[in-house]
Subunit: 328 residues, 2 copies
């Protein structure tokens, strides 16, 4: 029997819990320990039968873990943790600040090379699966136009922005693709869209007692960068309704490329996701790329890699011969 891939999780929020669930769905993997900056005792008290270890002890697990899945946030956790851990372990992360990826790549690449380790950065679904489909569609249809739509789904950044508005107790924001825009593209058009023509923003807000709802609404819809360029709806609801109806983390979206070939034949490539749980899905992508990281390392590779660099066959537990026979 082949030895299981031994996985560590660094960071135990929604994404880390999703990784734990995803590992349980993959019989060729096992979870060794969860690393966190929180007191391991506070995590153990939840009654979960997991080994929790303080992050400061992570180096002691070098020999026990084949690949570390980094589940921190892109704003402050990963820029620090990935280069640090990439020198010690093969790693996978979901660093998603698109504009900073080149710099992040360089830092992780250097650290991983020095440690002789393999790091897969910026995987998940965007960056990740969506990026792969953008690349694939552009390479196949060089004459064409491409669109990415996000949603319907909860945007954490925009939900946070709502909660900073004076008088707001709680709130959640859904990014919603405009169906008319998608229909136009699917009908073969390649329009240029204004920002507000592609996505709408729907906010569900719990106001503090006595707060001025009109003032809150105005503060949200006119907020620059976040809402001013969009058609934004604001619906006031109760705390109970928020908890009952809006506690999930659905998301999804599409990458669509319309191109032409030959004497003007229209061709369309479309990739879409509809996710009831964004963090669980992202976690499932990370876990598949953890398998790929181990395989690349076994080939003697080291340094940073992205989804563009990795053969798809490395994501599957099946052998190359099985894949050719069953899936090609």
């Amino acid at each position: 029997m082949q030895q299981k891939i031994r996985i560590g999780i660094a960071g135990y929020g929604n994404l880390g819990r999703g990784v734990r669930s995803a590992i349980a769905q993959n019989p060729d993997m096992e979870l060794v320990a969860v690393f966190s900056r929180r007191d391991p005792k506070s995590l153990e008290q939840r009654g979960e039968s997991l080994r929790f270890v303080h992050m400061s002890d992570v180096e002691r697990y070098k020999e026990e873990i084949d690949v570390m899945i980094l589940c921190g946030g892109s704003a402050t956790d990963l820029p620090e943790q990935t280069p640090q851990l990439a020198a010690l372990f093969h790693t996978v992360d979901s660093f998603d600040t698109h504009a900073k990826i080149p710099e992040f790549y360089d830092r992780v690449h250097t650290a991983a090379l020095l440690g002789g380790k393999l790091s897969v950065i910026s995987t998940g679904w965007d960056p990740g699966l969506f990026s792969m489909n953008r690349l694939l569609a552009q390479s196949i249809l060089p004459e064409g136009k491409e669109y990415t739509f996000w949603g319907s789904g909860v945007s954490q950044g925009h939900s946070d922005a709502i909660r900073r508005v004076p008088g707001v107790r709680a709130g959640v924001q859904y990014t919603v693709p405009v169906q008319a825009a998608i229909d136009a593209i699917r009908s073969g058009e390649t329009p240029e869209f204004e920002t507000r023509e592609k996505h709408a923003r729907n906010c569900y807000v719990v106001a503090e007692d006595g707060a001025d709802e009109n003032a809150i609404r105005e503060a949200i819809v006119s907020m620059p960068n976040y809402f001013a360029d969009y058609d934004t709806s604001v619906t006031f609801i109760t705390q109970e309704e928020l908890e009952r109806e809006h506690s999930g983390m659905p998301h999804g979206g599409f990458v669509i490329r319309s191109g032409v070939t030959g004497a003007g034949s229209k061709q369309r490539i479309e990739f879409g996701l509809e996710l009831e749980s964004n963090p669980e899905f992202t976690a499932s992508v990370l876990v598949a790329y953890a398998r790929a990281a181990v395989r690349l390392a076994a080939e003697g590779q080291s340094g940073a890699r992205t989804v563009f660099d990795i053969p798809l066959g490395h994501l599957s537990p099946k052998s190359a011969a099985e894949l050719r026979r069953e899936l090609l």
Copy 2:
């Protein structure tokens, strides 16, 4: 300036002409010559400004061509041509007899290794892009169920079967996915379908003068393997209408996987194509993989490869750094 990738085309039917068009859309490539078993003079007489060469002279072009794109059929051409040419050139083909791929792979792999060449086999969209999406979706959502739908599009094999029915002068068959089946999957169900519940078959037939239309219809709808297991419609039309309305080669389809993660969150991954020209699109995929073949060979690789073995970044003319910056 970087030297262009020098391409040869072997076989000049619909697919070969599609490859010629696709090369013209990719500024990093140039077409050197078209190889055919037909008399080059008969091809030149069409007035096309191309170099046509008889297949028997192909070996003389070893130094002039970086990659040969094989555009013959899977029934008889490719099983013979790919192993033969794979020993002489880097090659790309669209061998699509799914059941015979393992044996084909072995033969091409041996030939290419002996010649020190790199052969990408069985690319296009199915096998090809659809296979990649089956693999990707299964790897990410191991608990789930997957569906492939084809169409709406013209099936050459079924059109040929119609034309063999006594009394039929000409005809074309469209494979059409059943919308109710797709809707059920998209709504989150994971049903088991009978063959007839997934696809319908619509036939447009030109009868010979005086032929018995009812007999033709009955012969078609009851034909085993091809039509008996499907809901098949037969519409009689004139030769003029056939030529006017049914001379295109549209196709497409979907790969959909519905899975669950965590405590039962439903997740759906969907990849779809809508193609006005099936051969031109397949050709565009072959051309992108020709670029990948040259890159893999430049890395020192040889032997046969499938879409599962090739990093997506190799399909693009852009550098890895550009891809990370622009598309990730």
